[in-house]
Symmetry: C2
Subunit: 259 residues, 2 copies
DNA sequence: TATCATTTGTTCGTATGTATC
DNA sequence: CGATACATACGAACAAATGAT
């Protein structure tokens, strides 16, 4: 019987006790936690206190809670999808979305007009509130079930400069790159990685569990004049995916063993 | 007066109403939300329901709540630190930790022995539970106040093969790379990016606000025999930092304008 | 400096709804 | 169907941080 008494709020102490039990392996991954009633008994606290503690552990991503079943220690296995970063590999505009993963489109892509935000404006070197063409896709990796949201943003200036782009506003990225290459651009790009918590609709679309952050990958593609031409964004749950940048430097490495 | 009635739980409806008001700009970034008492009045619900709704918005990172003051719309500005990714830039082992940011060590580095986890074992191509030397550092960027946790992991095999390493077990990474280079290794590496929610101690150490994920950067350095030699890890709050991989491909790009 | 009103934080109690088995 | 377990909701009280008086 671990007495609860240490620091701060009661529910924090309860949470700390359970957390410790989890991290020490007392509750093994996948194993169920005691029920709320049992935890009340165990720590001599009220139901709201127990729920507050459990809620804290959910927010930390330590446990999964299923209505009517119980709470379970989350098995923090490695992500199932390892997306290869692209920077540094030029091969003439032949890129199929973002990664080796064989994404399938879950729905028809939706196209629209929008404006730059602070983030996208910075990446594209534009002012905020400048007009953009947008195209969203929901992607699914049928092998692992991993879902991702893909977005292509094209500034008006780029669409004007490349008539073929304006006609078929948003084919797949591979097509877009091809068009840009045919328009005489020698492409290069940079990638930026961020992370944030999803909004409810993103959580739904990506089928994310509790406390799963979202990885944001932004690829800015620039042309011969070193000006940003388009922006590709990919959002994917950090619980399922990781992003790996491999080598291109002095040495071409042998293929790593356990990939 | 927006009537609350639609979907699911009451607190979800309240949360949705507030969320919509925030995203539509009705509550501007930095502006205070109505107090809990006012929200109770506004939506004719009890205090627990209001608090539940507010709690949901906190978990989404939409608002910051300050004890005794109130709730405020979080201004989702861009991260203040943009860490440059390293992959693809070999220059003979001269690397100072992770990034241009002038990190300062907040404390003395702590060294210890540990074992591979599932993640680190995979990155280092080892079995799980193999022995490692570890060295942790808490870093602070004095310019922005951004904090980061840095870790160096060295397999026993590497330490044995390179006696100089074993003697001064953990100098700064720059020193370690230098030693490896002097030992005749031609280094290359790959970097993997993940994200997760922080544990309480990480939140404290990194001074993270609510709902801020942590970006995990892992750099595996390999030697002439293409075997992984050491692993560098950097954890930094995704609210303050982003990671950018710039170009090395066919073309040496001009320095981007607005960095 | 001290006090007070306001606001959020914590904790209890209680009741009912809903998912799972 | 019933038992179990989590989800939602209300009410009430006190603690603690904040800012103004």
């Amino acid at each position: 019987m671990t007495e609860i008494q240490r620091p701060g709020a009661l529910y924090q102490q309860v949470a700390a006790a359970i957390r410790e039990a989890i991290l020490s392996g007392e509750y093994e991954p996948g194993a169920p936690l005691p029920s709320e009633a049992q935890l009340m008994e165990r720590y001599k606290v009220s139901r709201p206190t127990v729920r507050n503690a459990v809620s804290a552990l959910r927010a930390e991503g330590l446990i999964d809670v299923h209505h009517g079943k119980g709470s379970f220690v989350r098995s923090d296995s490695r992500p199932v999808v390892s997306l290869p970063g692209y920077v540094g590999r030029t091969s003439g505009g032949r890129f199929v979305l973002h990664g080796v993963a064989a994404w399938e489109q879950a729905e028809e892509p939706s196209t629209y007009r929008t404006h730059t935000t602070e983030t996208t404006a910075h990446l594209l070197e534009l002012q905020v509130e400048e007009a953009l063409f947008g195209c969203d896709r929901l992607l699914i990796d049928p092998t692992t079930g991993t879902r991702a949201m893909h977005r292509t943003l094209i500034p008006f200036a780029t669409a004007e400069a490349v008539p073929d782009l304006a006609e078929a506003p948003h084919g797949e990225p591979a097509t877009v790159y091809e068009i840009l290459t045919k328009a005489g651009h020698k492409l290069w790009w940079s990638e930026t990685v961020r992370a944030s918590m999803p909004l409810p609709d993103e959580r739904t679309a990506l089928r994310l569990p509790d406390a799963a952050p979202v990885l944001h990958l932004s690829r800015v593609t620039c042309g011969t004049d070193d000006q940003p031409l388009i922006l590709e964004e990919l959002r994917v749950g950090a619980d399922r995916a990781e992003l790996t940048y491999r080598i291109t430097a002095d040495k071409q490495p042998a293929r790593r063993a356990r990939d």
